[in-house]
């Protein structure tokens, strides 16, 4: 019988992998993918606790709001990346240094 611990372990692994992507990747779209991994890990945690620990559906609602935030964030982030690409002809975050003095 799989229990809360196995879901929390999967979620922790996904969160750490997403963090690794955010820290090590240069490409802006890869960083966005890392953020999506971390958001998914958080949502999985909410649903797992809702099933095994709190016994109500509040965790499901929280996961639903994470879904909404992720959608809004992806749309705005990609619009920003498109502008970065038009300005600098690259999507590497190191090259976004227009505000550097």
């Amino acid at each position: 019988m799989h229990c809360l611990d196995s879901y929390l372990f999967v979620s922790a692994a996904m969160f750490v992998l997403g963090l690794l992507a955010v820290v090590t990747r240069k490409n802006a779209v890869s960083i966005l993918m890392g953020i999506e991994l971390m958001l998914n890990a958080g949502a999985l945690n909410f649903v797992a606790f809702s099933r095994f620990s709190t016994a109500n559906l509040d965790g499901h609602v929280a996961a639903l709001f994470i879904l909404i935030i992720a959608a809004a964030e992806a749309a705005v982030a990609l619009a920003i990346f498109l502008n970065l690409y038009r300005l600098k002809a690259t999507s590497e975050v190191d090259k976004a240094n227009l505000l550097r003095g």
Partner: protein, 167 residues
């Protein structure tokens, strides 16, 4: 839970973690984007095991149908075909592995040492209860979320067309 259910559960776990590793470690960004598809499907499968039927369906619809399409679109818009094979990692990859490994160790240690309160929820289909929660207890965040989505929509369109109008 029968033995077949166990096998399917661990297949979903392996699918999720394995494809997340491909997302993080593959040097070609387009392969990362497609591996993210399998991660999202694996998470949807885990939602099914958690009896979250509505969330599993919306995970597939919104993440796979919406966000992943946007991400792949972004990959194609911002990457030249000739640069697809250039490694996307920085030089600090192995230095970053140490603190992040420590974070992972701390998380796993915490997960298995804590005795979580056990209070198993056993309900049928969750869609009706979720709808009632969204229109009673969570009405204000729900409406705020729709305003946020509208603002993101308008803002993203404005940002994406900013330079086309200037030309």
């Amino acid at each position: 839970m029968n033995i077949l259910g166990e096998i399917v559960f661990w297949v979903f776990v392996l699918l999720t973690i394995g494809s997340s590793m491909v997302v993080v470690f593959h040097s070609r960004i387009i392969y990362s984007a497609f591996a993210l598809l399998f991660t999202f499907f694996g998470i949807a499968g885990l939602y099914v095991f958690l009896a979250a039927d509505f969330l599993a369906a919306s995970q597939v619809l919104i993440y796979v149908g919406g966000i992943l399409t946007l991400i792949i679109f972004g990959v194609f818009m911002t990457t030249k075909i000739t640069t697809l094979s250039i490694p996307q990692l920085t030089h600090h990859r192995y230095i970053a592995l140490i603190p992040i490994g420590l974070v992972f160790y701390a998380l796993v240690h915490m997960i298995f040492k804590t005795s979580w309160p056990v209070n198993v929820l056993d309900v049928g289909p969750t869609t009706q209860m979720l709808g009632q929660l969204l229109l009673t207890k969570y009405l204000v965040p729900f409406e705020l979320a729709s305003v946020l989505l509208l603002a993101a929509l308008v803002g993203a369109m404005r940002l994406a067309r900013m330079f086309r109008e200037a030309d």
